[in-house]
């Protein structure tokens, strides 16, 4: 990812625009509405969670490209086991996403007035867990979809759906009732709630931790299984 500076530069720029343009202006719109919370603080956490989600999705695009360019065959000839390769790719996607978002989380903790080691380290753990799950989801999609155009659009939709159908941008109780049950179980909601608990001191239930852990386990497992199947020469040519 370091070789793709434009991706890093633009994602960072988008984060700042989301925070200092969108969140600031929508916060202005909420003045006098007695929401019971500060929208800027609320959204600032959501912006970090959205950004790490977006970055973690890139691992799928990388794998898709490697597969198209035939680079995967070369990687398989390297002297280490396939299981290690699968494990490394999934974790690599999460680690690089966390490295990228770590300074953003520091900024948000500072802006929200919770610049404490517990809040920051706890948030990093939550972000890392979310990134592992999203990397797994992205790898699964990359291994299932065979058309470049489709992959691009499906990844964009998956990113949009995971962020919008969640409590990253707006509190759960404002989401239409029919969608609330889906949004409530979204890993992005769980991660946002847990970080808000650590940074803003808002309340959340233990369920959020369980849901996030389940999401990670399912998609890390699925992503690994699909990639492993491919490496072992399964149904892909």
């Amino acid at each position: 990812m370091v070789k793709s500076p434009w991706i890093l530069i633009t994602r960072t720029m988008f984060f700042f625009i989301q925070l200092f343009v969108f969140a600031t202006l929508v916060n202005k719109l909420t003045v006098g509405l007695n929401l019971g919370f500060n929208y800027f603080d609320f959204y600032s956490v959501g912006a970090v969670v959205s950004t790490i989600t977006s970055i973690a999705f890139i691992i799928g695009a990388d794998l898709f490209e490697e597969e198209e360019l035939g680079l995967l065959d070369y990687l398989l000839s390297l002297p280490f086991g396939h299981s290690l390769f699968v494990f490394g790719r999934a974790l690599g996607g999460a680690v690089r996403a966390l490295i990228y978002c770590a300074p953003m989380m520091l900024l948000v903790a500072y802006l929200d007035g919770s610049f404490t080691p517990v809040a920051i380290l706890g948030s990093y753990v939550v972000l890392f867990l979310l990134a592992i799950g999203i990397s797994g989801l992205s790898i699964t999609l990359a291994m299932v979809i065979r058309n470049e155009n489709r992959f691009d659009v499906v990844i964009a939709m998956a990113e949009l759906a995971t962020v919008r159908v969640s409590a990253a941008i707006y509190p759960l109780y404002y989401i239409p009732q029919a969608i609330q049950p889906v949004a409530a179980y979204s890993p992005v909601t769980s991660a946002s709630d847990l970080i808000r608990l650590l940074v803003l001191g808002t309340s959340t239930s233990l369920d959020a931790t369980v849901e996030l852990a389940l999401f990670v386990a399912i998609f890390f497992g699925l992503g690994s299984a699909f990639l492993f199947r491919k490496l072992e020469g399964g149904r892909f040519e």
């Binding site: 991706i7 202005k28 949009l160 509190p171 404002y174 989401i175 239409p176």
Partner: protein, 249 residues
């Protein structure tokens, strides 16, 4: 069939070959409108800034369709880019018995048309929400066409300059962020800081979304359509110039 019509027909066939993509685009529109639009609208219920539009939901509804139009318009640029860089078919296309200028113009025009067609379901949804009469709904289609022209121009500029997919997608994302956040798609002009307000004047989204909102009042404001048309022509002309440059060796 005339030669430009053949080019347009070819672009339509490429675009509509995969209907799955069209479904996904509509799903994205519905997520934007039905989830984000309704949620933000509920949150901002009671704000007096949107009384004249009925609600914040109705205020941002045209923006959701214009975002879909942005995505669809950039597919035109992506096609041009793929022909140039991936498939290397541009040299073949230029050997066809067809003037280069006419070819470039037809490609841009086909991008406008197919974006307008792709976003037609969304335009109808908003026309129904706004309770527009048929002539006003047609004006809504015109707004979408003009906006599509502006974004197609931008996408073809990006496709003509980008040598890698990474660069093209970066320009695409940056353009989308500029169109969304530096315009009046989410917030009224009255609350914009001076710098954002200045930038929003050169943003086709601002004029398109305002022109569409104005239809709800049952009027057509030429002072909103004229800048949109002007920006559209300027960006199409820029796209044309850059695309033509790629055809010279």
């Amino acid at each position: 069939m005339s030669k430009p019509a053949q080019v347009i027909e070819r672009d339509f066939r490429i675009f509509f070959a995969d209907r799955f993509l069209l479904v996904i685009m509509f799903v994205n529109f519905m997520i934007d409108l039905g989830v984000s639009g309704l949620s933000l609208s509920t949150m901002l219920k009671g704000s007096t800034l949107f009384t004249q539009y009925g609600s914040y939901f109705l205020y941002i509804a045209p923006g959701a369709n214009l975002i879909t139009a942005t995505v669809a318009s950039f597919q035109s640029g992506r096609d041009v880019w793929r022909e140039r860089i991936i498939h290397d078919t541009q040299s073949y296309l230029l050997t066809l018995p067809f003037g280069k200028s006419r070819f470039a113009f037809s490609r841009l025009f086909s991008g406008m048309i197919r974006t307008t067609v792709t976003t037609l379901p969304g335009t109808i949804v908003i026309a129904v929400l706004y309770r527009l009469s048929f002539p006003l709904a047609m004006m809504g289609v015109l707004v979408m066409l003009l906006y599509s022209g502006a974004v197609c121009g931008l996408s073809v500029v990006a496709a003509s300059l980008a040598s890698s997919l990474e660069l093209f997608t970066t320009v695409r994302s940056t353009t989308q962020v500029y169109l969304s956040f530096f315009s009046t798609q989410f917030y009224p002009a009255s609350i914009l800081p001076p710098a954002v307000s200045f930038l929003s004047n050169f943003n086709p989204m601002t004029w398109a979304v305002e022109a569409f909102r104005d239809l709800q009042a049952g009027t057509v404001d030429v002072t909103l359509l004229a800048p949109l048309g002007g920006l559209s022509i300027a960006l199409l002309a820029t796209g044309y110039v850059f695309y033509r440059r790629t055809m010279e060796y």
